[in-house]
């Protein structure tokens, strides 16, 4: 089966500096870094076409960093990330919009930045308008939006760009209950279309409902890769021990 996401020996180190300018010293001499934080250690896994993989772990375990690396938003310190196909990343949904543009114009703007052509966006703009249910606000500057409204816009843009690979970071809680239901239904629909999905959530139910496999990330390492129930059991036991 075709591998849609392949991660090999991935490491991510965050470098911290006491003073900003020390970065300059660091990139030239590799000195001046006050602290290194190894957030991902030697991660290897792959996601096949049509597979929905859940990512579990406590806050700070490295889930978001791993997702950003797969989405190509940040760079690995070492190792490889290979992604075959267009990625739809549901990460930082309301970021990257221009507050002075209308919702419609922002879809064109961010869509272009994502590498879409005007005609491609023309095709999806009506669907997006209908999906976000913003009414007349869709043609108002998004500085007038509430945070939930701009997140809806981001969500719609990411799912309507026909991604083959979906990366979902804790975002099925966007907007009010009605929109949550709708966004969940949309995501389920995409799951059924056989997209490959990397999905992080703190809700055991969601993981059980959708995923065929889980990765349990603990302190930057994958400690479990396999059956959903087994993974969740391990994770919940660890949490109980901490309490």
């Amino acid at each position: 089966m075709e591998k849609k996401i392949e991660v090999k020996n991935l490491n991510k180190i965050f470098y911290m500096f006491d003073k900003d300018y020390k970065i300059l010293q660091w990139i030239v001499t590799k000195k001046g870094c006050s602290k290194e934080k190894h957030v991902l250690k030697n991660i290897s896994f792959s996601v096949d076409a049509g597979e929905i993989v859940g990512l579990i772990g406590v806050n700070g375990a490295g889930k978001s960093t791993l997702m950003k690396l797969v989405a190509g938003i940040t760079y690995p310190s070492s190792g490889e990330v290979t992604v075959n196909g267009r990625v739809g990343a549901l990460i930082n949904l309301s970021a990257g919009f221009n507050p002075d543009y209308t919702g419609r114009k922002n879809i064109y703007y961010k869509g272009t930045l994502m590498g879409m052509s005007r005609t491609e966006i023309d095709h999806i703009i009506d669907d997006i308008e209908e999906f976000v249910e913003l009414g007349e606000y869709f043609d108002r500057p998004i500085r007038m939006y509430s945070s939930g409204m701009s997140a809806r816009l981001g969500f719609a843009l990411a799912v309507y760009t026909e991604p083959e690979i979906l990366i979902i970071d804790e975002v099925l809680a966007v907007g009010d209950k009605i929109f949550q239901k709708k966004s969940r239904a949309k995501v389920e629909e995409m799951f059924q279309q056989g997209k490959s999905v990397l999905f992080s959530s703190h809700s055991d139910d969601l993981i059980r409902q959708f995923c065929s496999r889980v990765l349990y990330l603990k302190d930057g390492e994958i400690v479990f890769d396999g059956d959903v129930e087994e993974g969740l059991k391990l994770y919940n036991e660890d949490i109980k021990k901490k309490k």
């Binding site: 900003d20 970065i23 938003i73 940040t74 990625v87 990460i91 990257g96 543009y101 994502m114 590498g115």
Partner: protein, 266 residues
């Protein structure tokens, strides 16, 4: 170093269509809230120039500077300067102010400085028409050198593109540098032959010191193109292009090394 230059150039070539599209959209970004839009940019310029021209006329009357009417002298210096100044102030923020994009989608960050120079160029292209109107109006039409104009336009763009690679990177990571930079660009105009004429200083050292800044070459060049003809010596031209190569190389190095930090750090 060579690796980083190669990387930046390749990324630019691979994404040139995207850059043009985004630059065209960005050129309208700042003025989208106002009803007069881009006209405000020109309004600022014209007001600024009018003040200096009037003051000069009040102090010295219909006088000449470097063998041309003072109004033409001021205009040919100030319009390229406005372009440089926009690149220094807005262009240098291109990575910092687009952190939302860097942190939410996969977008090659090294393109952002170039995109902002392109969008400033699109926004300002008409301001160069003002030089034509005024210098031709003062009867300097026969002095116009189209080839020199094209050459110095290229120099201006090369300088701005190279410079912006460096400044946008450093400003993104260092708040101290941003403060220092902010105060330097405010006084920079007075160190260049834009509002005053330093050809009357014949001593070598002041001349060399003032010319270290490669922007001086471009500003003088525009006067050459519109009025004076070729006056800059070969040595200074070599120095200018040497500066461009060095600035560009440093810019590529910084962008290449820092691109890994932008999303985590901005």
């Amino acid at each position: 170093m060579l690796e980083s230059i190669k990387y930046v150039i390749e990324e630019h070539i691979a994404n040139y269509r995207l850059m043009i599209k985004v630059a065209l959209m960005d050129s309208k970004k700042q003025t989208v809230r106002s009803s007069l839009g881009i006209l405000w940019t020109y309004f600022h310029d014209i007001l600024y120039m009018a003040v200096f021209i009037l003051v000069r006329l009040m102090i010295a009357g219909n006088s000449e500077m470097m063998g041309m009417h003072s109004t033409v002298y001021l205009i040919t210096g100030m319009i390229p300067w406005f372009f440089i100044s926009d690149v220094l102030s807005q262009g240098s923020m291109s990575i910092r102010s687009n952190k939302g994009i860097i942190q939410s989608i996969r977008f090659p960050a090294t393109l952002l400085p170039t995109i902002s120079v392109m969008s400033i160029f699109v926004k300002r292209i008409f301001s160069f028409i003002l030089i034509f109107i005024i210098s031709f109006g003062f009867g300097y039409a026969k002095n116009f050198h189209p080839l020199l104009f094209i050459y110095y336009m290229m120099c201006l763009l090369a300088l701005c593109l190279a410079m912006n690679l460096v400044f946008s990177a450093v400003i993104t990571i260092s708040e101290d540098f941003r403060q220092l930079y902010g105060s330097i660009i405010r006084v920079l105009i007075y160190t260049m032959p834009i509002l005053w004429d330093f050809s009357r200083y014949t001593a070598i050292w002041p001349n060399v010191l003032l010319r270290i800044n490669p922007m001086v070459y471009v500003v003088k060049g525009f006067r050459d193109a519109f009025v004076l003809g070729m006056t800059q010596d070969l040595l200074y031209s070599v120095y200018f292009w040497g500066c461009i190569v060095v600035i560009f190389a440093v810019g590529c190095f910084l962008q290449f090394k820092l691109k890994k930090f932008y999303a985590d750090f901005v």
